[in-house]
């Protein structure tokens, strides 16, 4: 009769091997976990994807950005630079990444005003990026164009003669003479002076308004080509305006400003995205006001 076997020795060789392998697996797992926990090396990726030149704490530095940096710095393509030059560029890019990450660790976004401004601009920029990337079809463009006729008018132009009289009676006499077709010399001979407010010939409406002043411009804008105004009183005397040519604003054809309409549609979308995003972020944020601060 065989002696009774102990339970451990009763295990078959296969079962023992499984147990040993399990134990090895557990120890290796614990080792890796410990390394990850205490050295931050456990989460490290050993493989750098082909499109990256380096990973800094898992943050990629793109080959494309690296090549651009090399070209910007040395004005030649990558293969035309020396190993030393390439190493220098990569070292500076890694340095920047390390410092950015350290800045985040130190909470620089809370203290450094430039970082805060840059972050605000970057978030707004990202909303613009989304607006610009969204496809726009031609019906949307046309509808926007039709909805904003004031935006797409040409700037009117004015070209006029301006005479300044010292008093109302001389101004009235000059108006009558001009309407009768008297030449400029005759008006000067009557004691009027040529005005000095608009001397460069044809001007855009906005420039004419700035030069003539609002009261004179309001009169001028309504004159037709060849028409003579009634005398208008201003601080420097009485003005009589003779309109040479008045070209009021006209609607610019859609086909000539499609690019402008596209830009405006995108800007409009971006503005709406900014508003919506701010509303969402405010709603999501837990903002507590001090007493009386609301």
């Amino acid at each position: 009769m065989k002696p009774a076997q102990s339970p451990s020795s009763a295990l078959a060789p296969d079962s023992r091997r499984s147990l040993i392998l399990c134990a090895i697996g557990a120890v290796a797992g614990l080792g890796l976990a410990g390394m990850g926990l205490f050295t931050a090396q456990g989460t490290r990726t050993s493989h750098v994807p082909p499109e990256d030149i380096a990973l800094v704490n898992g943050v990629p530095i793109l080959v494309s950005d690296y090549e651009t940096q090399v070209r910007d710095l040395y004005g030649v393509s990558l293969s035309q630079t020396s190993r030393q030059q390439r190493k220098g560029v990569l070292a500076s890019m890694i340095r920047e990444e390390i410092y950015v990450q350290r800045g985040v660790e130190l909470g620089m976004q809370n203290d450094v005003i430039e970082v805060r401004s840059a972050l605000v601009a970057a978030v707004e920029g990202q909303q613009t990026v989304n607006a610009i990337a969204a496809p726009v079809d031609s019906s949307e463009l046309l509808a926007f164009y039709k909805a904003h006729p004031d935006k797409y008018s040409s700037e009117g132009t004015i070209d006029l003669d301006d005479y300044v009289a010292p008093d109302a009676s001389k101004a009235q006499a000059a108006t009558t003479a001009l309407r009768a077709g008297q030449p400029s010399q005759a008006i000067i001979a009557m004691g009027l002076k040529p005005g000095s407010r608009m001397t460069d010939g044809s001007e855009y409406y906005f420039a004419a308004e700035a030069h003539l002043g609002k009261p004179l411009f309001t009169v001028a804008r309504d004159l037709k080509d060849g028409q003579v105004s009634d005398p208008v009183q201003a601080e420097d005397g009485w003005h009589v305006l003779v309109m040479r040519r008045n070209s009021p604003p006209v609607e610019r054809p859609y086909d000539t400003l499609k690019d402008k309409v596209l830009q405006d549609v995108r800007e409009d979308k971006a503005a709406r995205l900014h508003t919506a995003a701010e509303g969402f972020l405010r709603k999501r944020a837990d903002i507590l006001y001090a007493k009386g601060a609301e």
Binding site: P50, S64, E67, G125, I132, S202, E203
Partner: protein
Amino acid sequence: MVNSFSILKKPFAIAFLVLLAAACLFSAAAFFWSRHELSVALFQTDPENLENLPDVSASAIRSGQAVFRKNCAACHGANAHGEPAIGAPNLTDRDFLYGDGHVIEIEQTIRYGIRSGNSRGWDLASMPAYATPHPYSKYEIPSLSPGDIDDLTAYIRRISHQDAELAAAERGRATYRDKGCWDCHTMDAGGDSAIGAPNLTDGIWLHGDGSAQSIKNSISYGRGGQMPAFNTQLTPLETRTVALYVASLSRAGEKNTQ
């Protein structure tokens, strides 16, 4: 009732399914492996030297063409000849608004865009609207008079080898010099690709057709075309392949003109 798994009881059917699954797995692995190999080849070679790897180059250009059709053709056209109405340039010539046509420059433009909102995109200058009270949004510059704009139009028509009144063009030359147009377009009006100021002498028009009216529109109301940043929409590999495709188009255009 017929058991739907009864087919699995037939050995040849099981073998067929196993083979099919293996073929699918093999195809998928082959596809991903080829993409990986293409990635490695494309990112480990200076893009300016890819002509030395014709197989890789051809494969990348084929992939890039598909990416172009999906993402770029809506503005630049399926044949990449551009759309002057929206200021989308012709990509088949050797006239580059930004940079000199190097693959990496094209790639950066695709990745970060032009006036796209991305701070890495091109946004150094735009054409002021000189027939408006405030021609430029970034800082104050004076407007021009209608006469100045007519003269400048004549000058630009003359230097781009088109008809225009000589006296007006001469006045326009003085305006070009005195009002600072040269600051962006350079003294010889050859443009500056570092800031996206176009060459005004080559008869290639980003906006319009070079007619007096379209030139006048550009000076009067300004220009500032935009291109989206594709860095979040395209993978690095897609971006590089489409950049290679665009570079190949302009190089083909160059060969055709020689």
